[in-house]
Amino acid sequence: MSTSPETTATPAPAEETGGHGDLNVGVKAAGGSGEATASATRITPGNALRPEDIALAVSSGSAKPTEDVAEIALRLGDDALILAQRLGHWISRAPELEEDIALGNIALDQLGHARSFLSYAGGLDGRSEDDLAYFRREHEFRSASIFEQPNGDFAVTIARQFVVSYYQFELYSQLTQSTDATLAGIAAKAVKEVDYHRDHSAQWVLRLAGGTDESREKMIHGFKVIWPYVDELFRDDELTARLSASGAAVEPSSLRAEFDRLTGEVFAEAELEVPKVQPAPGGGRRGLHSEHLGYILAEMQVLAREYPGASW
């Protein structure tokens, strides 16, 4: 009888409240750690923190980043934006319809994170997400090199996504504890989505590495192409040192051990080795990009720049 609908139905509403409360935990934890609860963390009917909420909070003055927080938000926003731009290219070109949907979904998640981070970053000097995305030049972007790497074949895209989602998962998990309530709120929403991205890419790593000889060779090649850009993600600098000291963010190097451990588990199951390649110098955090970014921006910005000041 314990499985009858009557008995199981009773706790359902409480369960549901608990479910909603679950999302609140990440947000409230930030508020509880000393910051006033900014309206930017308002839970909308869809239970999601939307970029529009952040833009509103920023323009009404209820959420304002410090200079350092704005800079880290810019970095993370640019990472996600450039990746979304890359992934979006797969829509209508993927190996299966299901992957058109999956990669499109990941691109959409990343774009959502980008919009939130950029809306917040712009709060420093009153620029909008679109001002930042469409009217900055190459050297003003703060994304790391891995995000602008070309899609290559499906294995290269999966290798890039695998690295990025394991990195972002560790990063956002930590940022849910940020002393900056808005950063914590954005991270709390993003981390759940990125968790799915990990699952998606890890499954593909296993399938491609354990599929056919051809797919295994391509997966190994994919990691070889992407791995030079891994180190840059975990490099500390003066900004991250200051943010770490204030509790607003963490030193990227502190995420490396867990990243190595968890990606290592997947590598072990896939019987792959971590590629032995020389790390690239990077420099994206200081505006020093590869040759790829210029083309990405040329395409992304062309229409907005053709009609400056227009509303869409």
Binding site: P51, S92, L97, E98, F154, S215, L303
Partner: protein
Amino acid sequence: MAAQTLQSVPGEPTSARHEQSLEDVARRDAEGQAYFDKVMAEDSRIEPRDWMPPAYRKTLLRQISQHAHSEIIGMQPEANWISRAPSLKRKAILMAKVQDEAGHGLYLYSAAETLGQPRDQMMQDLMDGKAKYSSIFNYPARTWADMGAIGWMVDGAAIANQVPLCRASFGPYGRAMVRVCKEESFHQRQGFEILLELSHGTPEQKQMAQDAVNRWYAPALMMFGPPDDDSPNSKQSMAWNIKRFSNDELRNRFVGMMMEQVKVLDLTLPDKDIRFNEETKKWEHGPLDWDEFHEVLAGRGPCNAQRLERRREAHHNGAWVREAAAAYAAKQAKKQAEKETAA
């Protein structure tokens, strides 16, 4: 209730049927036909395992797979603008919309599969040029305003066509249409909103919107198919409760809807002959170039070659991925079976 009138399930080995006597088969067909006729008379639903006339199956398979192909090819003109969307919000909306279309393709292929043809075969027919898709997607999306015009007019025409299909006699198709129509109406509203924003923007933006409406108007009207006196399959489809209204009826109704909405947009439709006929109580429009329609349908439109090549390219480039996934799944299944035997 329909179980008693079951014919063979599609894909069932024919040897099973050979064992039945010809009399049995004839009796079952007669029972099946009687049940089918009753369902049609009651305007109720046929489900995949029910007996159905071979021509009904064939018609539905053609229509549903063409519909699925249209969704998949229809992703391309809009995907073309994802990378250049002029704001991040518009980029997000457009990505979500194109993703919806992939989803529609999936439901529809699944609905068609219940009629006995695997998705791979339908895809192959599309790539071989044996299967058709809506000719509208063979026109180029030249400017950002085309994202508005496609949403408002092309998705609008699709909704006018598809809302009655929610009542189609074949269950899986009707049910798929309910979900598709919900998402399509969101698509139409977002297209309308793009045009509204443009028409209230700078003079250049307004011109861009008008130009897009001018280019998509006639192709959108032709989406309803040839005029009633030149639509040989319509009558049978209506008798089978698949189609509920004639091509011209739906087209005229759509023209009336657009005439109201275009006023709000502060744009015009490129057709001086649109009028409401007080006698027939129907909207009328000017002549359409049906020669162009047949040319595009025959494969000689502006983007036919490009659209099909893009599909073939994606399919070809993804072959090794699909093979890998299948090989991996087979290995995993084998491992699992070995585990179970050992245990």
